[in-house]
């Protein structure tokens, strides 16, 4: 007999529903500290978000949320940890666009059914940045040279198969061809343009905030349908003819099959966190969208839509 993953999950969900009826009722949830898995290393964007949520969320949810960093495999190792635990909401994970991009590739190690999005916590558009003293004054300068000398300009990215790759490949299919140079370590990625080793950088503004404030980098283009309010002079991709927006999003997910009332309870607590001044200041620091937060009622649809957008970008690029 061959059991599909879906069957197993459905069985698992039924089992959990049974235990939920007997043991972990919604009013008992959370019965102990909620383990917060960060499938990325310490110090990065996902880690900072988790620690912020853990700090602000503890009074709201009534239990501590210890953060566990399990980096590896573009988030796959940490996700494996989440999926190995019972579907009761006692383990949650930070789930970001870069991990989500794996689902658009071949043989993903989990599916949409394996996860239940609790809330979208941060949405931040991606930019093309150059060093302050770069010879490219505007996006048009950059696009012109990329068209003339296909593949000559170097753009530092996170890696192949990532959202960065999808977006830049999409640009390539429209004639703006660049040479993607992957740097998995953020520090090397940023040094690459500051030291003149690459011509541009694909990144979210929050990750290079200090360089922007310190006048070491400037944005050439923001991906999306509208300009970003902190950089009113930077054109958006739609203006220059590229209808693509794959924002970096960071969300909180639990395992698929978790009782809906537990998800709701966690989501409600996060809504209170999102409304706090501390969190609003955090979003601003991260150069994120001020209306980033989406609760459990919309988070699932948002995450599903992102996957569709990624797939369509790949399709158009190939």
């Amino acid at each position: 007999m061959h059991l599909s993953r879906r069957d197993v999950l459905a069985g698992g969900a039924a089992l959990v529903a049974m235990t939920a009826a007997g043991g972990v009722r919604a009013q008992d949830y959370p019965s102990r500290p909620i383990e917060l898995v960060v499938p990325w290393g310490p110090g990065g964007g996902a880690d900072q978000l988790a620690r912020k949520i853990a700090q602000l969320g503890e009074p709201e949810i009534g239990k501590p949320m210890p953060v566990v960093n399990i980096p590896g495999g573009t988030g796959a190792t940490g996700m494996a940890k989440l999926l190995a635990n019972p579907a009761d909401g006692q383990t949650a994970a930070i789930y970001i666009a870069d991990s989500h991009a794996l689902l658009a590739g071949k043989n993903p190690r989990w599916t949409m059914d394996d996860i239940a999005p609790v809330a979208v916590l941060i949405q931040a558009p991606s930019f093309i940045f150059v060093a302050q003293d770069s010879r490219f004054k505007t996006w048009d300068d950059f696009a012109k040279e990329a068209k003339e000398k296909a593949g000559a300009l170097k753009v530092a990215t996170l890696g192949f198969g990532s959202v960065d790759d999808f977006t830049l490949s999409f640009l390539g299919s429209k004639g703006v061809k660049v040479n993607q140079v992957p740097f998995s370590k953020p520090s090397e990625r940023y040094v690459s343009i500051l030291g003149g080793h690459a011509d541009a950088l694909y990144e979210q503004a929050g990750d290079v905030g200090s360089f922007l404030n310190g006048k070491q980098m400037r944005p050439l283009l923001v991906f999306g349908a509208k300009r970003f309010e902190a950089f009113p002079d930077t054109p958006c991709s739609k203006e220059v003819g590229f209808d693509i927006a794959l924002p970096q999003f960071r969300s909180l997910v639990v395992r698929g099959g978790t009782p809906p009332e537990n998800i709701k309870k966690l989501s409600d607590a996060l809504a209170k966190v999102a409304a706090s001044d501390g969190y609003k200041a955090f979003l601003k620091e991260q150069f994120a969208d001020a209306n980033s937060f989406i609760d459990q009622s919309g988070a699932g649809a948002f995450v599903a839509k992102q996957l569709e957008d990624m797939k369509s970008a790949i399709k158009q690029a190939s």
Partner: protein, 514 residues
């Protein structure tokens, strides 16, 4: 200059604030403990402590974390020298000469030298940090993938120096290490290599598992074979702390300075930290040092070079962190995170906008190094006493720490099995006189080298000459070539003249015991 001194002076005063001082001492103690425990790396230790700093004032938070960073480059020296378990990958080079010296019945002397090395390397580097932060930060930007690759090739070539009499055995061991390092998901294209559809292998083999297994478990197995009857341990009971005399230190001042400068520069380069500094300093010493032929037999140079470079790398790594907002190592990446959590973004602007804080952090590094050495001095006595315990009991604790360490990496039981496997491998290596060091070096540096190689290839349209035509990369590559060729020439000459052990003395696998 006067301005810098005035600001540093007020930084020292700020450090004397009771709460700041408390944080400093706390950081040093925790850093030492983290350094001693294998498996619990310095980076993990700093991360685990990060939440405690949320509610603190930002200066105190950074002082605490950077104090941990400083002492974390030193604590592991104790376990390396006394038990042959490197508490941190940084301290692998200390196994060769440090452990050998301890085996000769001079554990206190070996620890005394590491203390002096850490003190001098750390302080020299701290001075350089204060003076050079601004100009040097710009220099770091000129390093790109070809330069990283050249540095890593040099590190891998130093394996020849670390190897035992047999060059072939050393190369086999290194190749095996590189092979182990290639297991898992390739960093550039995400291809699976040698994973055999096992999820744990898809994420690669952690170098800590290899390191703790091959050294820690392997060592216990070797002792078990001898029925825990090692003689030198009972002789090691001379608990008098032996700090080297001033004239002894002056004899090695050139080497001390060279290693400290090297460690400082490697610290500045983003992406390379204390571990690379430690390996490269040892490699340089065994290639170009005055007593290069005796390296590995328990000489002072083999202890002082890696330790002073490791501690000196801290001062170096803080330069790009503060001046550019670029972390030069894993631990500084976490410290950067701490800055961000407090709403401060390091970069050129903080030298102007928050100079009081910056100079307090600078001053805390000076005080931290001194506090660390004082604590280290008093810790030597009780720690060396441990060697008086029966070997079987110590071995039991070694095994315990190995297991705790391997499990702590990513909480996966499979890692324990892997560790036991590598323990058996380490035992067999010693039994058949293969050096373990190249294996571990390959596993640690292999992935870094691969990634910078691939990056260079992509970045320069597959033009391999960049490694030789770019000035810094070319120079380092030339040094690596010399490192590789000298022992081979020596071997050929040695063969002609009938010298059986060319190119340096053998690594002390267990010379004292056999």
């Amino acid at each position: 200059m006067i301005d810098v001194l005035t600001q540093l002076g007020s930084g020292f005063l700020a450090c004397l604030h009771p709460l700041t001082m408390l944080m400093l001492v706390l950081g040093i103690i925790v850093g030492l403990l983290v350094g001693v425990l294998p498996g619990l790396t310095l980076v993990m230790g700093v991360v685990l402590f990060l939440p405690f700093t949320y509610k603190m004032d930002v200066t105190n938070a950074i002082v605490l974390l950077s104090a941990m960073y400083v002492s974390g480059t030193y604590g592991g020296a104790f376990t390396s020298i006394l038990f042959r378990i490197p508490g941190e990958p940084i301290h692998v080079p200390l196994l060769w000469d440090g452990y050998a010296m301890a085996r000769k019945g001079q554990p206190a002397r070996a620890l005394g030298w590491t203390l002096i090395a850490a003190l001098v390397g750390g302080l020299l580097s701290a001075v350089a940090m204060v003076v050079l932060t601004k100009p040097v930060a710009q220099f770091a930007l000129s390093f790109s993938s070809p330069e990283y690759f050249a540095i890593l090739v040099f590190g891998l070539c130093s394996v020849i120096a670390l190897g035992s009499g047999s060059l072939a055995n050393a190369l086999i061991s290194l190749a095996l290490g590189l092979l182990i390092a290639s297991v898992g998901t390739d960093a550039i294209y995400g291809a699976y290599r040698f994973t055999f559809d096992l999820p744990i292998l898809a994420d690669g083999i952690e170098f800590l598992v290899v390191m703790v297994g091959a050294y820690g478990v392997g060592e216990v197995l070797s002792r078990l074979e001898r029925g825990f009857s090692s003689k030198p341990l009972s002789e090691a009971g001379t608990t008098r702390t032996e700090l080297p005399s001033f004239s002894e230190v002056m004899k090695v001042k050139g080497m001390l300075l060279r290693s400290s400068v090297l460690g400082h520069i490697i610290g500045i380069v983003p992406g390379a930290g204390a571990t690379v500094a430690s390996f490269v300093a040892y490699g340089v010493e065994s290639q170009f040092g005055r007593r290069k032929r005796e390296m590995g037999s328990g000489v002072v140079e083999g202890i002082v070079a890696p330790q002073s470079a490791a501690t000196a790398s801290v001062g170096g790594a803080l330069i790009p962190l503060l001046a550019l907002g670029i972390p030069g190592s894993g631990a500084t990446a976490v410290i950067l995170g701490a800055f961000m959590l407090h709403g401060i973004q390091p970069g050129p602007q903080i030298m102007a906008s928050s100079s009081a804080m910056v100079y307090t952090i600078f001053a805390s590094i000076f005080i931290g190094i001194i506090v660390m050495c004082v604590l280290g001095y008093f810790a030597i006595r009780p720690l060396v006493k441990i060697l008086d315990f029966p070997e079987s009991i110590v071995s039991a604790f070694v095994m315990l720490f190995c297991f705790v360490g391997a499990l702590a990496i990513r909480s996966n039981v499979t890692d324990l099995w892997l560790m036991i496997g590598f323990g058996v491998l380490g035992y067999l290596f010693e039994r058949f006189r293969f050096p373990i060091a190249p294996l571990v070096l390959g596993v640690i540096l292999g992935p870094l080298a691969e990634e910078s190689f691939m990056n260079s290839m992509i970045s320069f349209s597959n033009d391999w000459t960049v490694f030789f035509t770019r000035p810094i990369a070319g120079t380092v590559m030339a040094l690596a070539a010399v490192t590789l060729l000298l022992p081979i020439i020596g071997m050929i000459r040695g063969r002609r003249s009938g010298d059986p052990t060319p190119g340096g003395t053998s690594i002390p696998a267990e010379p004292a015991a056999r």
